[in-house]
Amino acid sequence: MVGMLQSRALSLSALLLSLALVGSASAQAVTSGPARFPVTEATLDNGLRVLIQEDPRNPIVAVQIFYRVGSRNELPGATGLAHFLEHMMFKGTPTHGRGEISRLIELNGGRDNAFTTKDMTGYHVSIAADRLDLVLGLEADRMRNLLLAPAEIDSERKVVMEERRTRIDDDPEGVVYEAMSSIAFLAHPYRWPIIGWMSDIARINPGELRAFYDTYYRPNNAILVIAGDVKAPAALAQVRRHFGPIPRGATPAPVTALEPDQSDERRVIVRKEAAQLPVVNIAWHVPNFRSEDAPALELLSTLLSEGRASRLYRHLVYDKRMALGAGGEYSYSSLDPTLFWFFATLLPGQSPESVEQALLAEVEQLKKEPVPAEELTRARNQIEASFVWEQDSVFTRASVLGRFEMLGSWRMLDDFLPKVRAVTAADLQRVAQRYFPLDRKNVSILLPAEPATAAAR
């Protein structure tokens, strides 16, 4: 799924971050569990939120800065601004010319990259821990001093257009993902793709990029997370020195768009000559983390998708031999309510109609019968174990802290596992009944292009 866009092709797995909602650095680690990775938090006078997590196991540090701006902050006619601007963040300031920030990081043995989601834009550096000061200086510089030179914008525009061709236009599954969002959302900006429409990418002008930058790239609109082999007091002092002088900006206007309740069924069929295997997606509008039902939806997605014993794999892939892969995906930490996706990639010879019916039968089954205890416990155990595993990586821990801080507070991580543990089979049944009405679904289907002979008949 096109959940996020990375700035460079040679990059860490996008999946890592898009699935990061089952995060690390859990409440367990901070409160009751091992006290070895405590979090120090601070808010500078200019509004910059700072989280620092000490972890001396490896001599490295992950430095990640998250801006509260993504494609949801864009308007029709100027879609893709957030992602375009992310690319421009590597194109220079008066102090550090084009490419210089990445070059300095590599010169110091570090790696950097960036990503844009519907909700936020993030920049991350992993580097030897004693180079923290360098990274903070670079991030502070580009928070406010971007050049945004028109010639560089025009050059990078072409790069973004190439990126769109790779990710979406030439990838049949990218096209069908884009199509689903565009039918499921009528009023909310989740309607358009993160990378933006090609015509907008081609048109966006320097003034719009500058205005977007000035609105959102402010200390009071950012979260800085540092995780690794550092001492929190010293690191915080460095943060203050580099970011402290940056003035606070106006508070960006909130996103006010609300998606109306869906009262109809919507379908889209995408035909692509390059498509080899049909894909069937069924999606419903569901609430996000703010809802009491979110932990049940999260558990449901794990139970449906995680591993070969998961329900959709077991039924559609293993038993019925209809699909090569199948699952159910939920975005717990989406800033605004989004979709719960059921999806299947068909095995050759299977009809999209029968696979759609099979997916719907699974949904009906969830409504009719409580999930057996073994399945519920397995899903819970999988989520709990993933919390432990994700603590192994400072990169993942930093990104999960940032993600939860974005939702309100990293301390919300404290509640996540207890809430998941409290979910019952009856809860799962209830949320399935409440959120998956058969007559108000969104369906997107990818089909290979009709053979020419069939069209001529």
Binding site: R36, R165, T166
Partner: protein, 434 residues
């Protein structure tokens, strides 16, 4: 595995220790078990997790000419049934404790990886041993898996990068298994028989030539005892492991065009290259970084930053156990292909024609040496690195030697090897697009 992922794997070995002044602690303890398997243990007690990675001389390089995909199918079937449990029972047992047990064949080796919380290690090792020693290859599971592999192969046709890589393989390694697709073809996989799978397993899943890496919350005596207990009776078969021939060091370059109705053209250039045991490998690693390794590289700068011709452009060596390839890749809009390819070939030629700037040399060395700890910062990454070093016979001191060798590379040496290994005239090319 995607080409980018494989490139990442290759880069893993081009890494070394940071901080030239500090003495490197040994990455792991190594010993040879009585049955010939090598055991490598890295104790990381800070989190209650354990990764066990078992590598076997059972990769696609050992596919018979009339049985492409046999190694991949055999590895895929390991977890689909044992003498004690059916495939679904295995899935349920490991997933119930939030763990995973996966088997995959790559080009050189088959890898079985167990990831499990410490408290469930005994269960995990039981399952791992069963899967290694007592797979039953049930006929119904085999039919399922063959259909899945065939469908995956078809689906991969959607990816122009995969199509390009499949086409380029035999141009770089003509007549050698490295040129063949790891998972086989739709046709070849359809003809594989259970007898072939059973025989392949019997001959190749053997302790001599295997390595077992354990990383995480375990001690060396503890894991050694636990493994010996479960792997008792695992001995080498009398039949010797068949040798793998080395691929040709040079081949005549040729070009292919695959027509697809796409908005971009994928360009992939490649030729045979050298392994880490060749002294030229180190200057080539430096030259590679300067050419197309990072965001300050010449290809990135000229093709992407200055001309906006590509989102993705890179160059890199892919050393394997028996040979190596070198790939240069980019994707660009159809009407820009000629310009982009001209730029790329010009930059490749310039590497051998002119000495690199001292600043370029410094950047490459600093990055290659300094970024090493980032490659070992999780248990999974460390396990993969240790396994790869052992498989390639590089020795646990490889990081130190690498650092030392990279540190000694001169501008002249880099230019010399670039002229030898990066000459664009020696690269075959594949283009996928309109």
């Amino acid at each position: 595995m995607s080409r980018l992922a494989r490139l990442g794997g290759a880069l893993l070995l081009t890494a070394t220790m940071a901080g030239s002044t500090q003495a490197a602690a040994p990455l792991a303890r190594r010993e040879v078990l009585p049955n010939g398997a090598v055991l490598l243990v890295a104790e990381r007690p800070s989190l209650p997790i354990v990764v066990i990675r078992v590598s076997l001389p059972a990769g696609a390089v050992r596919d018979p000419a009339d049985g492409l995909g046999l190694a991949n199918l055999t590895a895929d079937l390991l977890t689909r049934g044992t003498a004690r449990r059916s495939g679904p029972e295995l899935d349920q047992a490991i997933e119930f404790v939030g763990g995973s047990l996966e088997a995959d064949a790559g080009r050189d080796s088959a890898i079985v990886t167990l990831s499990v919380l410490k408290k469930d290690l005994a269960l995990g090792l039981d399952l791992l041993a069963e899967v290694l020693r007592q797979p039953t290859f049930p006929a119904d599971e085999m039919a399922r898996k063959i259909a899945d592999i065939q469908a995956s192969l078809r689906r991969a046709e959607q990816s122009p990068e995969t199509v390009a890589a499949r086409t380029l393989g035999p141009l770089i390694f003509p007549g050698h298994p490295y040129g063949q697709p790891t998972a086989g073809t739709v046709e070849s996989v359809g003809k594989l028989t259970r007898e072939q799978v059973v025989a392949f397993h019997r001959l190749h899943y053997r302790p001599d030539g295997a390595n077992i890496v354990a990383v995480g919350d375990v001690t060396e005596p503890e894991i050694r005892r636990a493994l010996l207990q479960r792997l008792a009776g695992w001995t080498a078969p009398s039949a010797a492991l068949p040798p793998v021939p080395a691929p040709a060091a040079t081949v005549t370059a040729s070009n292919r065009q695959i027509t697809r109705d796409l908005s971009q053209t994928t360009v992939l250039l490649g030729r045979p290259s050298i392994r880490q045991d060749d002294p030229d490998y180190f200057p080539l690693a430096v030259a590679t970084y300067v050419l197309g390794g990072g965001s300050a590289s010449r290809l990135y700068t000229r093709v992407r930053e200055e001309r906006g011709l590509a989102y993705s452009v890179y160059a890199g060596a892919q050393p394997g156990r028996y040979g190596a390839s070198y790939l240069v890749s980019l994707q660009t809009r159809t009407d820009a292909v000629a310009e982009a390819v001209k730029l790329v070939r010009e930059e490749m030629a310039r590497m051998g024609r002119e000495p690199m700037a001292p600043g370029e040399l410094e950047l490459a060395k600093s990055y290659l040496i300094g970024s090493f700890p980032l490659r070992l910062d999780t248990s999974g990454k460390l396990a993969r690195f240790l396994g790869a070093v052992e498989e390639s016979g590089l020795g646990l001191d490889y990081p130190e030697r690498y650092k030392e060798r990279i540190g000694r590379v001169t501008v002249e040496e880099a230019q010399r090897v670039a002229a030898k290994y990066l000459d664009p005239a020696t690269f075959s090319s594949v283009m996928v697009g309109k």
